[in-house]
């Protein structure tokens, strides 16, 4: 691929992101802008921002790559990513907004009245965030390597630098605009080339040569105990992992009330549905027209290579640049969302919560995963993000679900459950990365959610029952706050509070 395409796309996205960030910064001046500006953020903006933040490297590059390798089984990934938001809508969205918690540790402290529970949650949130940033940086490294031929660290480094600069200089408000813009950029970047190529293929004339020897639409693998377990465990991880992603919760805070949080989630589901049509198309095109990736080549590059391979000339270059820009939007938006929420947690719990502390924490939140990303090698983006979801589902999910819906949850139960889930899932992931291909333990270790999530719930419930006397004193009041609807919108004028 022509390296200048990569450079142009990269510079365009970085500059636009920075510009929107600074424009937003000029709009937000006062404290009420900074926090309550959210009240002027319309559900559509907010939903676009959530979509922009959520659609990460795994969605943009990983799904198509997985379809190239494993065919129809990969289609469960986007279904799981979307259905995770359904669970969020059913169990978490409105109550969590009403709780007023800004971060998950805030929620833990408010619900359990325990600083220990708060610290344990903070540590887990930081671990989740760091390990979710790593695949984004792997994606950036892959993109830069594929499009410009520069070494891997350049791609990851650019993402870290741009994100830290925008986060350190901007507030929540500008992040909302940046994220919303990036959803539409990502959608355009996938949709325009895909539609162009499909029209081209449907048209007259000799089309590109089909790869022989690859079956275009392989049927589902015959059902075995192993494959059923893998699909089941993956769906558990994706459905219940979304609930606990640290950057998702912050976004719900920018809804004016619980009902708006539900409406926003409904729009998000629509936006995700439209987006996820396209990675599938790229996956199938990749199976049809690209040679199977050999050893050492990543199938995750499929999306990046398709436009240049199938469309020649200037049109091909422009479509390639668009796709590369979309990919960078994906890395930048997810990483900056995670860095903002991690910086909030780190600065508040470790550095005393000053503005300087927040900036230092933002640097810390981005540099540590950069180190991890440089030391490790990415195998498949969708798979590594799937493991992060399994970890979240085994740690944060029991805290949120039981905390919102079960009066019996105590601080001891929550801490015991989170530690159990975290240790079991962490150990499985570590052991699973080294286990042999034909080992009978392989599936159990590489898709651990099916047993670590129930284990975490069980321990949380049993320990809570054993420590009934530790139930928080203001439990009734807090549960009321979570579930009772706010005054109907007609009686208040949300605009009047924005000024």
């Amino acid at each position: 691929m022509n390296p200048s395409i990569g450079y142009t796309a990269l510079i365009l996205v970085s500059v636009t992101t920075a510009l929107i960030g600074f424009y937003g910064l000029r709009v937000s001046r006062t404290t009420s802008d900074f926090y309550v500006a959210s009240r002027t953020v319309r559900p559509w903006w907010n939903a676009s921002a959530i979509g922009g933040e959520y659609l990460s490297a795994a969605s943009f590059l990983g799904i198509a790559g997985l379809i190239v390798i494993s065919g129809i089984d990969a289609l469960w990934f986007p279904i799981g990513y979307t259905a995770g938001y359904l669970m969020l809508l059913f169990f978490v969205a409105a109550p969590l907004r009403r709780s007023g918690a800004y971060t998950i540790p805030d929620f833990a402290e408010a619900r359990l009245e325990s600083t220990t529970a708060r610290y344990v949650t903070s540590v887990l949130v930081v671990i989740v965030g760091w390990f979710y940033i790593v695949p984004q940086l792997h994606g950036a490294a892959l993109t830069i390597r594929t499009t410009t031929g520069l070494p891997s660290w350049v791609g990851a480094g650019v993402v870290v630098v741009v994100v830290v600069l925008t986060v350190v200089t901007g507030g929540m408000r500008s992040i909302t605009f940046v994220q919303a813009f990036q959803y539409w950029l990502k959608l355009t970047a996938l949709a325009v080339p895909a539609i162009f190529i499909l029209l081209m293929l449907a048209g007259e004339g000799p089309g590109p040569v089909l790869q022989t020897g690859t079956e275009l639409f392989p049927p589902a693998a015959p059902i075995t105990g192993d494959s059923s377990y893998r699909t089941f465990s993956l769906l558990i991880a994706l459905l219940f992992g979304t609930l606990g992603l640290p950057h998702v919760l912050v976004r719900f805070y920018t809804n004016p009330n619980g009902a708006a949080a539900r409406r926003t989630t409904l729009i998000v589901l629509g936006l995700l549905t439209i987006f996820y049509l396209f990675p599938t198309i790229y996956g199938v095109l990749g199976r049809a027209f690209l040679p199977m990736p050999g050893a050492g080549e990543s199938p995750d590059a499929t999306v990046l290579l398709i436009p240049g391979t199938l469309v020649g000339g200037v049109a091909g270059d422009m479509l390639s640049a668009l796709v590369v820009a979309g990919a960078f939007a994906a890395f930048l938006s997810t990483t900056s969302g995670l860095v903002v929420s991690l910086a909030g947690v780190i600065s508040q719990d470790l550095l005393g919560g000053s503005v300087r502390g927040f900036r230092l924490a933002a640097v810390l939140a981005a540099v540590v995963p950069f180190g991890f990303a440089m030391m490790t090698d990415s195998l498949a983006l969708a798979g590594s993000v799937g493991l992060v979801f399994a970890f979240t589902a085994s740690t944060i999910c029991p805290l949120l679900l039981l905390g919102i819906w079960w009066r019996g949850l105590t601080d001891a139960g929550a801490v015991a459950g989170m530690l159990t889930g975290g240790l079991l899932c962490g150990a499985a992931i570590l052991l699973g990365s080294g286990v042999a291909h034909n080992s009978p333990w392989r599936d159990v270790l590489t898709q651990p959610a099916a047993w670590t999530v129930p284990a975490a719930f069980l321990v949380t419930i049993l320990v809570s029952k054993a420590t009934k006397h530790r139930r928080s004193a203001s439990l009734s009041r807090f549960m009321t706050k979570l579930h009772v609807p706010e005054r109907p919108l007609a009686q208040e004028n949300p605009r009047s509070q924005a000024g």
């Binding site: 001046r29 507030g171 005054r487």
Partner: protein
């Protein structure tokens, strides 16, 4: 960046700092119905019944959604007639998982939001009648 002569001076910058947990205690989020609920035993029972009905609703819709996912999975992997069926050259299992699963998600979400809003409206009616 200079201000024009006619413009009022911009509001000064205000430092936003921890603890953020203070931020949520905005007066706007406490409502009459919340106060009623907190002050009486009857109120507490009504809140508990609201929580129960919302939880029941969430679990029922989740069960329905899981059942339809299971149905898709069985159809894709176990029904030979379905997996050989092609629509415009694309096998039906690919269409079902690549496109068809999403409307199911959308319908579940829409049904849930409608019913949850209704539960809350009923609760509000109850409280305000008193």
């Amino acid at each position: 960046m200079s201000l024009g002569p006619g413009r009022p001076p911009a509001p000064g910058r205000v430092r936003v700092s921890a603890p953020r947990t203070q931020a949520p205690h905005l007066p706007a989020t406490t409502s009459v119905s919340q106060e009623v609920a907190e002050q009486s035993a009857v109120g507490e029972i009504m809140v508990q019944s609201l929580i129960r009905s919302q939880l029941r609703l969430a679990l029922v819709v989740t069960a329905g959604f899981m059942a339809s996912l299971l149905f898709c999975w069985v159809l894709v992997s176990w029904v030979p007639f379905f997996s050989q069926w092609r629509i415009m050259g694309i096998p039906a299992p690919w269409l079902l998982l690549g496109v068809g699963a999403y409307p199911i998600i959308g319908v579940c979400a829409w049904l849930y939001v409608r019913a949850a809003t209704k539960n809350e409206a009923q609760y509000r009616d109850l409280v305000e009648e008193k």
